[in-house]
Symmetry: C2
Subunit: 158 residues, 2 copies
DNA sequence: TCGTTTCCTTGACTCATTCAAAAGAAGCGT
DNA sequence: ACGCTTCTTTTGAATGAGTCAAGGAAACGA
């Protein structure tokens, strides 16, 4: 909708300029799209970007998302059963609440867990860099409407 | 290798009989394959099953894995960037260590985190059922050989 | 403005996973 | 043991997110 807000363009451009990446209108648009649609999948980003740049190729969006992820301007999350989703909020080690029924994703801060969650009981010799916590459950709407676990993709259910 | 161990077949059959599912040789073989290859992806399971049942269709394996997951005999995990992987260890709320370089997956018990990890700071009204923790890092081998993050699939790297 | 380097477009392609219809096996009651 | 019903498996095709590769276009330093 208001994707082409000048202030946002500037902010996105500035973020890009702080990396060694070239500032292209495609990347700026992708960065905006990710900010405007938290936890959006690639398809949503493509559609959002095309509101301001109707001619972008899907490849450009895929490339931008990868590159932006690599330099740390966006984060990619992929809860089980979901395609890749992207978010602008980075560096604060927050976690996610995922609704099993409607796939809604919500951010949660890990105020309690910060330290404990980063320390597994034994690390098997691993060099641990990051802990990712995903809470699975039902969002308020789905819980209210009595939604249970959705079909998990088996034709002949039990 | 020793996939057709009678003891194992019995155990797998018994587990199946405790559900309302029919006990078929395909399902028994899938259950064994998952136990014999912890964190195996579907392709590995298919190959393993075909050692004892050369004629199984991939569809049967997909269906079995789905059904077994649904009744809780196996668990499906899908770390970002990975295809679906399955494991037999269930119900003990253990977590995973994933190597960013070689994708090795190792189980870890969450001795410290049990309670804290299940309690996010605010639940946004969600009905939380489960917390899933994934630790990302480098396995001993990759850390030793100085492996850094692998290419993440962008042709024009920074 | 020019040239170099990086990025985008185009279009084909891969591969995990799913769909659908028909043939085949499990388990039930007799 | 036999047949019936229902659940499973096979077969073969389709879907769709994501990737590969080559050439044209744009960014940016000089």
């Amino acid at each position: 909708m208001n994707g082409t807000n000048q202030e946002h363009v500037d902010e996105a451009g500035a973020a890009l300029r702080q990396t060694s990446l070239r500032v292209t209108k495609q990347r700026v648009a992708v960065l905006e799209a990710v900010r405007d649609h938290p936890h959006a999948d690639t398809d949503t980003v493509i559609r959002s970007v095309r509101e301001s740049l109707p001619a972008v190729s899907h490849q450009a969006v895929y490339d931008s998302l990868h590159t932006l992820t690599e330099v740390g301007l966006v984060r990619c999350i992929q809860p089980s059963g979901s395609v890749a989703r992207y978010e602008r909020r980075i560096g604060d080690n927050h976690h996610h609440l995922v609704c099993r029924s409607c796939n809604l994703i919500v951010d949660v801060d890990c105020t309690i867990g910060q330290a404990p969650c980063l320390t597994p009981s034994h690390d098997a010799g691993f060099l641990i860099e990051q802990a990712e916590v995903t809470f699975w459950g039902l969002c308020p709407d789905c819980a209210d409407s009595g939604a249970e676990r959705p079909e998990v993709g088996s034709r002949s259910a039990v």
